[in-house]
């Protein structure tokens, strides 16, 4: 554990973020509304500096600021992930009327990018939090800024509705989570995650411990949009500007999982080196949540005709697959979750980017608008096909490898419960094909409506899509560097300074 002042050195990435954020706000003020290009440049420079700072200060792990925040390779992996996510969104929003209406003078570009940087800061803190208070604060930071971002199109009814729903739901969920945290504090006597498991264990089979943990899980479940805390997700994803949706579907979800895993590892009873003991109630709770999330997400997605809503339910389903990995409680499970999050970033942002690009070219967001897109915008359709097949989990795309690792982790754990979990998982994968194929059917199998013209994408979007598609396919064939990087990142789990001490020692 490091002293406050000494901690600052290891806190460089977040400090850089804060500095960049302040710089952006000042520039925005001084220039009376910074242009998109300027704001984006500052944002990207900041994110690059964050990555550099993380790399430079990596290697010395420990608790910072009195064990409030941890600096370990696990959090570093997520920091890279968040920086990448924010960078992609920063680039995308440059050419998206949805987010920053560049046809208007008061386009609020500076504020948009400042919010993105702020959420990145919150996500970094979420991944590193080892204290209940810190967890709540970082989660709220991300949530509050997300509410504002989803309502960014001030004059649009749907956007405002999305923001309001998000705020109300998030407020209630956070409140419940805070109450659960206060109960945990009462049981443990301190807010640090390190001592929680012994404290809850010492409280015996006390129902209070169970209730408290369930309440805290409500908050985390809301953040990752797990069933039954997912109701906000479709409406918010549909109403928010699409770049914001793309961002929300990956960044805060990954941050939620990072925090969830740390919390669960620190708190769960009967968790040993080989994962949960057989018959563990906690594992059953997580498993049931995973099953519900996968199933509800996939089944309701079948009925959707708005592409953003369809992708929203699909992201709920993917949260279910990820929860499956968390349920194992093994190192392989967490490794699979992290691997899948990295791949999920690429394919989900890619899919939303296609929606953004098509919307920017003048079409709408429903399946009817996507009719015969295979012939009107061949590149976009091919790329969308790659992302959709990857999301389904079909080789040779990266999504298959991610799902493979998840199922492998679940089956490696073994035992009847996990086998059933795996079976539900694969059946859901097959079900998900139906609604992904509906998009493909609209794009390729249907005839164009009379007078349908060719659709040209903006060069920025076309290039970004190309890069993401190539990464998706390449990762499907050669993923060894990524998985070994994650394996090394998890090597720091045994460090007693971090909250998840000695789980797998």
């Amino acid at each position: 554990m490091f002293e406050n002042v000494a901690s600052l050195f290891l806190f460089w990435p977040e400090s850089v973020l804060v500095l960049g954020l302040c710089l952006l706000l000042v520039v925005d003020l001084v220039a009376r509304g910074a242009s998109r290009a300027l704001a984006a440049t500052i944002t990207l420079a900041t994110l690059a500096a964050v990555v550099v700072a993380t790399i430079v200060t990596a290697g010395r792990a420990g608790g910072l600021f009195g064990a409030m925040v941890a600096r370990d390779p696990y959090a570093d992996f997520f920091k890279y992930l968040f920086a990448l996510c924010s960078a992609v969104i920063a680039v995308t929003a440059l050419r998206s009327k949805d987010a920053i209406d560049y046809t208007r003078r008061d386009a609020d570009a500076g504020e948009f990018y400042a919010l993105v940087l702020g959420i990145t800061l919150g996500m970094n803190l979420m991944a590193a939090a080892t204290d209940l208070v810190m967890a709540y604060m970082s989660l709220e930071l991300v949530s509050l800024l997300s509410y504002v971002l989803s309502g960014f199109r001030r004059r649009d009814l749907k956007s405002s509705e999305a923001a309001l729903k998000y705020a109300i739901y998030g407020g209630v969920a956070s409140g419940v989570m805070l109450y659960g945290m206060s109960l945990l504090y009462g049981l443990a006597g301190s807010t640090s995650l390190t001592g929680l498991r012994t404290a809850i264990g010492a409280a015996g089979a006390s129902p209070i411990g169970f209730v408290a943990v369930a309440m805290v899980m409500t908050g985390f479940g809301y953040k990752v949009a797990a069933v039954p805390f997912h109701m906000w997700c479709p409406d918010v994803y549909e109403g928010a500007p699409t770049p914001v949706t793309a961002f929300l579907s990956v960044g805060p979800k990954a941050a939620g999982f990072a925090l969830l895993i740390r919390f669960v590892m620190g708190v769960a009873p009967d968790l040993g080196p080989t994962g949960y003991a057989a018959g563990s109630y906690f594992a059953a709770f997580l498993g049931v949540m995973a099953i519900l999330t996968m199933t509800v997400g996939n089944l309701v997605a079948i009925a959707q005709s708005n592409l953003k809503r369809l992708l929203a339910y699909s992201s709920i389903a993917h949260a279910g697959y990820l929860l499956m990995g968390v349920t194992t409680g093994t190192q392989a499970g967490v490794q699979a979750v992290m691997f899948y999050l990295a791949i999920y970033l690429v394919m989900n942002v890619g899919a939303f980017l296609v929606v953004i690009a098509i919307a920017e070219a003048g079409l709408g967001e429903t399946l009817e608008d996507y009719r015969a897109l295979g012939y009107r915008a061949p590149f976009a359709a091919v790329v969308m096909g790659i992302f959709l097949f990857s999301l389904t989990g079909i080789p040779p795309m990266a999504g298959f490898i991610g799902k493979f690792y998840l199922f492998a982790a679940v089956l490696e754990k073994g035992g009847p419960f996990y086998v059933i979990l795996a079976i539900v998982g694969v059946v859901n994968s097959a079900i998900s094909l139906y609604y992904y194929a509906r998009v493909l059917k609209a794009m390729y199998l249907e005839q164009p409506a009379a007078g349908a013209a060719r659709v040209t994408l903006a060069p920025l979007h076309a290039w970004s899509l190309g890069v993401l598609a190539v990464v998706t396919v390449v990762l499907g064939l050669y993923w060894a560097p990524l998985i070994s990087f994650i394996g090394r990142a998890l090597g720091g789990w045994g460090n007693p300074a971090t909250a998840v001490a000695a789980v797998w020692r």
């Binding site: 199922f407 492998a408 009847p416 059946v427 993923w479």
Partner: protein, 519 residues
């Protein structure tokens, strides 16, 4: 051999849109390369050798001990040759496609890569990857270039096969984690393995047999069922066969040829390659059930075919019926039975390809496939009638053509074990002959409807006989069927050694227990 069509795809993508003819010829060349290699394979394959030949083996993903392991042995070499041949013929049959040619042939070549890879792969993960890679192009090929209900047929095929495949994935992972430590291709030790050959080794078989119960059922039995369902959907076995009539009818001619000629064989190939050697004890446990389903396939398929009014659907159901013979032969575990099953797979591939090409010929001209709508075609389209009769005779198992040999081998091999079922299947032969001859009679004999199909009609059939290109696609298959009917040794020699090894693996692996005999 597996990746040669990839170069074809890359060349195709470079060709600009207008040069339709060039595209077709490039695709033909790309499909011809594996065919030439298949010829080389046929000539240089050592008939008497046990084990693998033409092996390529190196490590791909170290973290999960996945290897890049290709090879050919008695089980797969005939299938590789069949795939190359049928693909080449199918490209010839695709000459009539006129929209989005580049996409069509790109998808087609991708499909060929997948098919070759499935038959050549000897690493379970690699096998699965190629298995899934096939689904993607099939969806597009059926869905874009198909008939009136193509979207329905395409998604039904995709969903059905994917559902089976994901069960297979779980079984693959479960087998992996239960396997014993071994060495990888470059000598490094591995905790578990995906290598199909090592998985069938006695140590692993023993490990699987001794694995703890899974969901209350014996591990091997559960895995066997999971794998079997995945393969059974492909065969297609009753009751997982309902995707077949739709997919076959709606697919364009060449795709139906590939679907029936090659894809159906993958189900039985998978059972032979994976279920039999790795889980021999469970295979013997399920043998009777397999035989029963085989007989149901034969009889149910035959009766359904008899009732069809659409010629293509009739041929599709006859495929269901013929694959039932394979199942029956496989369930017997005798050298004769298994050889018959494998040979039937090859023969059915060649014969059914011919049948679908012939259906395509008449559909291209008449734009209808109703069996009752024709009549007396033999008088006006004699060459077509000749080929048609030849193919249908081969399909019903006329002695002198290859179908007879394989069916007789299956019966001979299965009779000692499953007396009643073989008798039932033999009656299936009668029904098969029934609907085949009846179809020939309805279409080719009788009165020619001059008004409907005469010289002045909307779709004249007079003077519109089968043309040279179509004859060229039929002749290689017909010649093979004819030769193998009189002299099956060329193919049987390829198969026998491998089948002998397989039979021994099943019988030894399961111990000395005798099979249950039905009364």
């Amino acid at each position: 051999m597996v990746f040669a069509p990839l170069i074809g795809i890359l060349i195709l993508l470079l060709v600009p849109k207008g040069y339709e003819h060039l595209i077709k010829w490039i695709a033909l060349a790309a499909a011809a390369v594996p065919a030439v290699i298949a010829l080389y394979l046929y000539v240089h394959y050592d008939r008497a050798a046990h084990g693998l030949q033409f092996v390529q083996h190196f490590v791909w993903v170290r973290g999960f001990n996945i290897e890049f392991f290709f090879g050919a042995d008695g089980v797969s070499v005939s299938m590789l040759i069949l795939t190359a041949l049928v693909s080449l013929v199918a490209v010839g049959a695709s000459w009539g496609i006129n929209k989005h040619l580049k996409g069509y042939f790109a998808m087609f070549l991708l499909l060929e890569i997948g098919m070759m890879g499935v038959f050549a792969a000897l690493d379970f993960f690699l096998f699965y990857v190629f298995w899934e890679v096939m689904l993607l192009p099939m969806y597009f090929l059926i869905g874009i270039w198909g008939g009136p209900r193509k979207e329905y047929a395409a998604i039904k095929f995709f969903l059905y096969t994917l559902a089976g495949s994901v069960l297979m994935l779980l079984a693959i992972i479960a087998l992996y984690y239960t396997s014993v430590p071994t060495l990888l291709a470059d000598g490094t030790p591995a905790q578990h393995t995906f290598d199909l050959l090592k998985l069938s080794a006695p140590q692993n078989v023993a490990a699987f047999g001794g694995a703890p119960l899974l969901l209350g059922v014996k591990f091997t039995h559960l895995i066997w069922i999971a794998l079997f369902i995945g393969f059974a959907i492909k065969i297609p076995m009753f009751p997982f066969h309902t995707w077949l009539p739709d997919a076959h009818v709606e697919a364009p001619t060449a795709i139906s040829v590939i679907l029936a000629g090659v894809l159906l064989k993958m189900g039985t190939y998978g059972i032979m390659r994976i279920n039999f050697p790795i889980l021999p004890e469970a295979t013997r446990w399920a043998a009777t059930a397999m035989a029963v389903f085989g007989v149901i396939n034969i009889l149910y398929g035959a009766f359904c075919a008899m009732a069809q009014k659409d010629l293509k659907k009739l041929v599709a159901y006859s495929s269901v019926s013929h694959m039932g013979y394979c199942l029956l032969g496989m369930a017997a575990f005798t050298q004769t039975g298994m050889t018959g099953a494998m040979f039937q797979m090859f023969n059915h591939g060649t014969i059914t390809s011919m049948l679908f090409i012939l259906v395509g010929v008449i559909y291209d001209r008449a734009h209808t496939r109703g069996v009752d709508e024709f009549g007396g075609l033999a008088s006006k389209m004699p060459v077509y009638a000749a080929f048609f009769s030849f193919a249908f005779m081969a399909s019903l198992g006329l002695p002198g053509l290859s179908g007879f040999i394989s069916e007789i081998l299956v019966f001979l091999g299965a009779f000692p074990i499953f007396k009643v079922m073989v008798v039932l299947s033999a009656t299936g032969v009668i029904i098969t002959a029934g609907y085949h001859l009846w179809t020939i009679q309805r279409i080719h004999l009788g009165q020619f409807d001059d008004q409907k199909w005469g010289a002045g009609a909307h779709y004249p059939l007079v003077g519109n006989d089968i043309n040279t290109r179509e004859i060229l696609t039929l002749v290689p298959l017909a010649v093979i069927v004819l030769i193998l009917g009189f002299y099956p040794n060329p193919m049987l020699q390829l198969i026998e050694t491998g089948m002998g090894d397989l039979v021994r693996a099943v019988q030894e692996g399961a111990g000395a227990a005798t099979l249950a005999l039905l009364p």
